[in-house]
């Protein structure tokens, strides 16, 4: 096709020539960092640009500013999963069991006002508003691998702070050995509660040392913005070395106990889901292998699946939590 605009002097850009916003933002950042630092520092910054700039916003929801995390292991360098995939393909049974259901149905979730109840063996129990809770720690961006027990994985830039900040603030009593997370269960807005797969509300739990680990994240957002409803707005847990279901969404209660809680999946199928549910390629699910995984969006139709890593690749950071434990027995 001939596109003769020369005489009018009005030249149309071809769509493919328009720079996508994400790339344009990255360029601006590189230029800024070049301007700010010495040449050597700027080059280092450019080489580690993922580690020095917050992920560009997805442009869908309200922004949530954060600084890149300094916690060891918190900034994975794998390619990020596309926002569309991370928000369109996930499990959130409260909205249905199909992985497309949360994106279709979670718009009904009411996230304002939102309070979180802190109870059990703590010196400072109480109800906290979301707005106040968000001030209990400095917002950090953390790029974590997410491994679903079903055999697929993603890489997601979360925003939040270490759960340890909250735990220290509410001052657990000496007897508190476990932390239990209770999630929202509202039959009016969550059609999935009619399904029989699980008992509601969905409950998850961690051992105190797991909950205190700096990688355990209380997340309020992702991709530079507040948490999308289908991903567990307004706040959720992210425990990157455990299968995804351990990371409860839309938290309403955090309870400190002296006895090991029974999590929802453990209750539904104790022979298939243990309390720990650490990502472990050597311990299969009774019904399928956990040795490999499919990285969503990256591994094409014909690409081989990738090998699943011990503790999802966080063995250096969390391996010592389980020293001496038989991980086949405590799966």
């Amino acid at each position: 096709m001939r596109n003769d605009t020369g005489r009018s002097g009005f030249i149309h850009p071809v769509p493919s020539e328009i720079t996508p916003e994400a790339i344009y933002q990255t360029r601006r950042h590189v230029i800024r960092s070049l301007a700010a630092g010495s040449a050597g520092m700027a080059l280092t910054a450019w080489g580690l640009r993922e580690a020095h700039a917050q992920t560009p916003r997805a442009g869908q929801l309200a922004p949530l500013a954060a600084v890149p995390s300094a916690v060891p292991g918190a900034l994975n360098m794998d390619r990020l999963t596309a926002y569309k995939d991370a928000t369109g393909y996930n499990n959130f049974y409260e909205f249905g069991t199909d992985k497309g259901d949360p994106a279709k149905r979670a718009h009904t979730l009411v996230t304002q006002p939102w309070t979180v109840e802190i109870e059990g063996l703590v010196k400072k129990p109480g109800r906290v508003n979301l707005e106040d809770l968000m001030k209990w720690g400095a917002m950090e961006e953390r790029i974590y691998r997410l491994r679903c027990v079903e055999g697929w994985s993603m890489v997601i830039p979360w925003i939040g702070y270490s759960l340890a900040n909250l735990i220290k603030r509410v001052e657990p009593q000496p007897g508190a050995k476990f932390v239990e997370f209770v999630t929202q269960a509202d039959p009016k807005t969550m059609p999935g509660l009619r399904g029989g797969a699980l008992d509601w509300p969905y409950v998850e739990a961690l051992r105190m040392d797991e909950a205190m680990h700096p990688l355990t994240l209380l997340a309020f957002g992702m991709y530079g913005e507040v948490m999308p409803k289908q991903n567990g707005a307004p706040l959720r847990l992210v425990v990157p070395w455990k299968y995804g279901f351990k990371s409860g969404k839309s938290l309403v209660k955090i309870r400190f106990t002296d006895k090991q809680p029974v999590s929802s999946w453990e209750k539904a199928a104790p022979q298939e889901y243990g309390f720990y549910s650490n990502v472990n390629p050597l311990v299969d699910h009774p019904r399928w292998s956990q040795a490999t995984e499919r990285r969503i969006g990256e591994d094409g139709l014909l690409a081989k699946k990738r090998k699943t890593l011990m503790f999802n690749g966080y063995e250096a950071q969390v391996g010592q939590l389980y020293a001496g434990m038989d991980l086949k027995k405590f799966f």
């Binding site: 399928w288 292998s289 969006g297 014909l302």
Partner: protein
């Protein structure tokens, strides 16, 4: 209607309609329209179409009797082979996209996941039926024996539902399973009732 069914073009038209889902899936795959996990989407869609075509082929005889349209018999072999074709692609998709054609991996997976063994058994029966679908095979086996062999498609129906039910058991999401189970129960039940009435 019956004249149209007798027209040679109707056979080709029905075949084309039967292949439409495949064309649609391939077009989506080529344009990257299969969502976040295209391998899973493709394997599951091919399984769905295997089950749907099985329902269609099992509906031929009840419809033929009920409507009094003997012409429908003309399409039965083609519909059966279409079902076999979707089953082949479903298995191929699993072996290729899920397991990368690794034989040892496949054996381990089949042992680990009984629902795959159930599906595979159904596939083996379908192979036997497809292999004996020609006129020559009917002559070679003799009508009685051929009919007896091809009644094993009822077993395929039961195994296919079990395969689907077991696959969904993890999430206890049986709504779709019951739809197909109900359809196939009607189609097989009709045959049982007729058999009893004839006695």
């Amino acid at each position: 209607m019956r004249a149209a069914l007798r027209h040679p073009a109707s056979w080709w038209l029905l075949l084309a309609v039967g292949l439409l889902p495949l064309v649609w899936l391939l077009a989506q795959a080529l344009q990257d329209q299969l969502g976040a996990n295209p391998a899973e989407a493709l394997i599951r869609a091919l399984g769905d179409w295997t089950l749907r075509s099985l329902c269609v082929v099992l509906a031929v005889t009840p419809l033929r009797t009920w409507l009094g349209w003997p012409e429908l018999l003309r399409f039965r072999r083609m519909l059966g082979l279409l079902c076999f074709g979707y089953a082949c692609l479903h298995l191929l998709g699993y072996a290729w996209f899920d397991l990368g054609f690794e034989g040892a991996e496949m054996v381990r997976d089949i042992v680990k996941r009984p629902f795959i063994l159930v599906g595979f058994t159904a596939f083996v029966i379908l192979v036997a039926l497809a292999a004996t679908s020609s006129n020559r095979a009917v002559r070679w086996l003799g009508g009685k024996r051929w009919q007896w062999l091809h009644k094993s498609v009822y077993a395929v129906a039961v195994l296919a539902i079990l395969h689907f039910w077991w696959m969904r058991a993890g999430k206890q999401d049986f709504a779709e399973v019951w739809v197909y189970a109900g359809l196939l129960a009607i189609l097989l039940g009709w045959r049982v009732v007729r058999k009893l009435q004839r006695r």
